[in-house]
Symmetry: C2
Subunit: 310 residues, 2 copies
């Protein structure tokens, strides 16, 4: 099989929003990122001039699509998205596009070259299926992932901030609701962290298939997968709700959180751009919630949300 | 032995800054805190009216001092501090003081009643010497503390945020410098998290004695204690510098960090009030640093600081 690819040379600021958009909205089959900063150490160590020419000025992001997808349409949609991101204050000048074609096998190799183990913290590592799952220390939990099919493989800032708060919050046997599970990563971590039961929803067929595969990879049997639009068809109340998604979708979710939150239950939200935080906080307050912890990395916020005491 | 105490009825917002001040500046031997919110569940469960009278309106903070200390002086100094905190935007209206006396034995009982295990996260618990050090799960590291002598026993927000970032950063065998170690808690955690060697400084005799005791309690042998004012007399360079202290002291520390930071080394700073963050960030930038992660809880910030790439 052959794959179409589009290579985007742009500011590394755009990595998260573009990746999100390419995977969620444009159904990219895979994304590769090369940043100049990844090569800084090599450069200072006297890299050969001809190799240096291949290194991107700032970032080179390559997205792969199944054959049959019209790449010119894809580029038009990316350009529209860039205009929107410009309004949020992102740097979108001097973006360049290049169309490429690769055969599936070559892409597989490329993929495996760029997806590596993430030692997320002392207590958690996310390892691609094809790498050795040895823990860094006796206390570390290792999650295996096949990162090919859906968003959320532990390399994105929004997921990493979410995991940081989960490590702090998931102390006892909680019931957990994971809205928009994608690859299933947060449900797998919740289960490994001792959740009593997890309900994971996603609207996309691909996500459900990918989550199912990743749950099996990690021998998880207490996660119920549900194909659903956000909370539609979800019953019961949960001690912890996880929502790692774009702020636009969080806006829709917030008014329905109370219906699914147990007494003293909490919510962790990630995927919030700094420009959107104040609107999220206002909406939370109007719906009886308060923000008890905030983490920021680059432009991204993750927040821990509690019910206001009456 | 008898102890003097002063009971302060005030807004729970003041818990951290007052505790810090009472322990660091006024050498309080111990602090107890009772918040109304701690009793909320009990109240809704039909508590008897006479018991409810004993519950503080918002927070009751009791500080104990050795006999011989003039409590009226202490109260004057607290009042001056409250004026300063008011300028930072804290609620300082309607603060009431009450002088109390207790015998040492009674205080010991009170103390043990109020100091409890903190299951800080899935991977770390801080347990007072007299409680059972059983981990919550097989992955949890348990630190034993005798919390009586110095600031920093894991119950303060500033320490907890620091620990959150340490869990994320301390992956490999790093050398660590802990400036203003207090009870020694951060050095003990760093050592348990696999630091190759730790140098811990503090200017106070009490802190050094307390840290020594706590290191022994946890069988730690790779922490070097040094009685020193910040970095004075500290030699060598470290992969990670920990500085959990008031922003006023961080200002003094920042210009000297580079001298003690290894290549690609990082700094975690905690104890920063939200009003002081922008000054800290400016000073860091002027000294060649950039903030790569921020965590906020209530008014307190903890930041992860990296060297700007050249």
């Amino acid at each position: 099989m052959q794959l179409n690819g589009v290579q985007i040379m742009c500011s590394s600021e755009l990595e998260e929003p573009l990746t999100y958009f390419l995977q969620s909205d444009l159904a990219a089959k895979g994304i590769e990122v090369r940043r100049r900063s990844d090569f800084d150490d090599v450069l200072t160590a006297n890299i050969l001039a001809q190799d240096a020419n291949e290194i991107p000025d700032d970032m080179e992001l390559t997205a792969y699509f199944a054959i049959g997808i019209e790449i010119s349409d894809i580029i038009s949609q990316i350009k529209a998205k860039l205009l929107e991101l410009k309004n949020y204050g992102f740097k979108t000048d001097n973006v360049e596009f290049k169309v490429i074609q690769v055969c599936d096998k070559m892409w597989q190799n490329q993929w495996e070259k760029f997806y590596h183990r993430v030692d997320f913290s002392r207590s958690l590592a996310i390892v691609p299926e094809w790498e050795c799952p040895k823990p860094l220390n006796p206390h570390q939990i290792v999650i295996k992932m096949n990162p090919k099919q859906a968003f959320g493989t532990g390399t994105h800032i929004t997921t990493q901030l979410m995991l940081m708060v989960m490590e702090r919050v998931l102390l006892s046997e909680m019931s957990v609701l994971d809205v928009g599970t994608g690859s299933g990563i947060l449900s797998i971590v919740a289960s490994k962290f001792g959740a009593s039961n997890v309900c994971a929803t996603d609207i996309s067929d691909d996500a459900i298939a990918s989550a199912k595969k990743n749950l099996a990879l990690n021998d998880i049997d207490n996660v119920e997968l549900k194909q659903a639009n956000l909370l539609t068809g979800v019953n019961g109340k949960y001690d912890l709700i996880l929502a790692n998604m774009l702020a636009e979708i969080l806006y829709q979710l917030i008014p329905h959180l109370s219906d699914h939150l147990a007494r003293n239950g909490r919510v962790i939200m990630s995927g919030i751009d700094c420009e959107q935080l104040s609107r999220i906080e206002k909406l939370l307050s109007e719906n009886g919630f308060t923000v008890s912890l905030k983490i920021q990395e680059k432009r991204w916020f993750c927040i821990l949300v509690s019910q206001k005491s009456n």
